[in-house]
Symmetry: C2
Subunit: 302 residues, 2 copies
């Protein structure tokens, strides 16, 4: 009988999401190899008892499952297919899970190229943040061949609280994630606009948070991000640059479809303005700081 | 001892919110007089056992509490202070509750003029929709003199599940409501943009609703309004014109403060476009229909 210990899972990208995934798999009894350009993250993973490899090629050698948790399509391309790419030495019939937020087109392209190598591909964008990654309770919006789902069900069980099986080809999971990111990005920008507007009207913004988060104006993001503003804490739980990227993908897809997205495009510009002001790597609630700088408002922690 | 039966409450405006308020008060044992230009609403209220009056002056005569549940500042001005205005014959020391979404400036103006007549004023915008109005479970974002709160506490208990006491002068309640409406309006427009974008990407939009409403992209409005789109039912629970009005107030206040509101202004334009296309009196989820018309998408019920 094959045990989890006999299943080698390679995790490329040990940022906050990838680290949580790798740690969950280790805790779940898999043989896990981690790989990242960040030596500190590698050392932390090794300290947990994980195996580490300096380059993707070495990390992927003999892996039955490869999970790519990098930032975007360019990085996914590089870590999978690049000169030191991870898939070259994977076990025959292995499965690649790609977790980055990609355009549906990029996801379909990766799937075709992976399948041409007799490997399986799962379009598997993730949601839930670092805390739920660490506890193995992510949400995964996945699509791909039924065989791919079947082959990695134990891995998915270990890292996710909820796996949506959205279709049998890549691109569908990516599209669902993009719709989620459109709303998430707009809601963050709107939360920042609303709370600074409240401040401009001299309201007690802690009270505004209390009232609105119990009212019809609430959103998941309003409830989650406004506390960062109230505490004046812009250390990145999720960075501004994530949304310049993800709303940029929305914008690219929409333009390609000749589909107008006035709200998402406006929100994108607010993240771009915040990044332009030097806060791209700070928490995405920094849109509120950008507005406060511009308008001379005094937010907590300014 | 004074009983509720001895307390006359006048409700001006028997639209879906005002009717629910008047019916709740009647059920609660108050002596209630209703007034509306809509004869059908008046007849329905009379059928419940309520008293009715054709003009505000008659409705307000001898009232201890007057609740104005009309659409905007112009109507509030007319029903309170106009030629046939309701406050002229109110009982000495009575209290006026104004429930329309107003600018803080308008609320302060009304308070000053009401207080000059030795009456009390409560800035009392409401939230929760027709269903919660009918069941006496509104949310009220109120501010005003402590004496006004004290004098109408039995009335508030009867119509609201939650009363926020936000300050001791008018304008604060109005400002809280405006922040709520900024977010509510943006979230509706964003929900409509996102769900039509999903349709443009050929996704199963019922599945999108299921996944997103359980994810970080969710908002109170996404969860509440997208079912109208999935059912193709645009009968007005809350109309497009409410948001051209309320986001218009946001825009006016913000311009006055020299405060930029790019997201709210974009959402406002989407409601204006929807009203321009002839759907101003339809459900506010009609923004999705407007986008579908424009882009040739097939939504349910089209």
């Amino acid at each position: 009988m094959t045990t989890k210990r006999d299943r080698t899972v390679c995790v490329i990208g040990l940022g906050s999401m990838g680290f949580g995934i790798a740690a969950s798999l280790l805790r779940g009894g898999f043989d896990v190899v981690g790989c990242d350009v960040n030596a500190e993250a590698m050392a932390r993973f090794a300290a947990l008892g994980g195996r580490i490899a300096d380059v993707p090629t070495d990390a992927g050698r003999g892996a039955h499952v490869l999970i790519s948790v990098v930032v975007n399509a360019v990085q996914t391309e590089a870590v999978l297919f690049g000169e030191a790419g991870a898939i070259a030495g994977m076990a025959r019939g292995g499965t690649v899970l790609s977790c980055a937020t990609l355009s549906p087109e990029a996801a379909r392209d990766f799937e075709a190229r992976i399948q041409a190598l007799d490997l399986l591909y799962l379009d598997a964008p993730i949601s839930g943040g670092a805390t739920r990654a660490a506890s193995g309770e992510l949400t995964i919006m996945a699509s791909g061949a039924p065989q791919a789902f079947a082959d990695v069900s134990d891995v998915l069980d270990c890292i996710a609280a909820k796996v949506y099986e959205l279709g049998d080809t890549a691109g569908i999971g990516a599209a669902f994630k993009i719709v989620n990111q459109l709303l998430a990005g707009v809601h963050i920008a709107a939360a920042c606009e609303a709370i600074t507007f409240a401040k401009a009207m001299d309201l007690d913004i802690a009270k505004v948070y209390e009232v609105i988060s119990a009212s019809a104006g609430n959103s998941w993001m309003f409830e989650n991000r406004v506390p960062h503003i109230l505490e004046g804490d812009y250390s990145p739980r999720s960075a501004v640059d994530i949304f310049t990227k993800d709303l940029g993908i929305v914008s690219d897809i929409a333009r390609g479809l000749k589909f107008p997205t006035p709200i998402a495009s406006t929100a994108l510009q607010m993240f771009v303005m915040t990044a332009a002001a030097g806060m791209g790597r700070d928490d995405d609630a920094s849109v509120a700081r950008m507005i406060a700088h511009l308008t001379g408002l005094d937010l907590p922690g300014a």
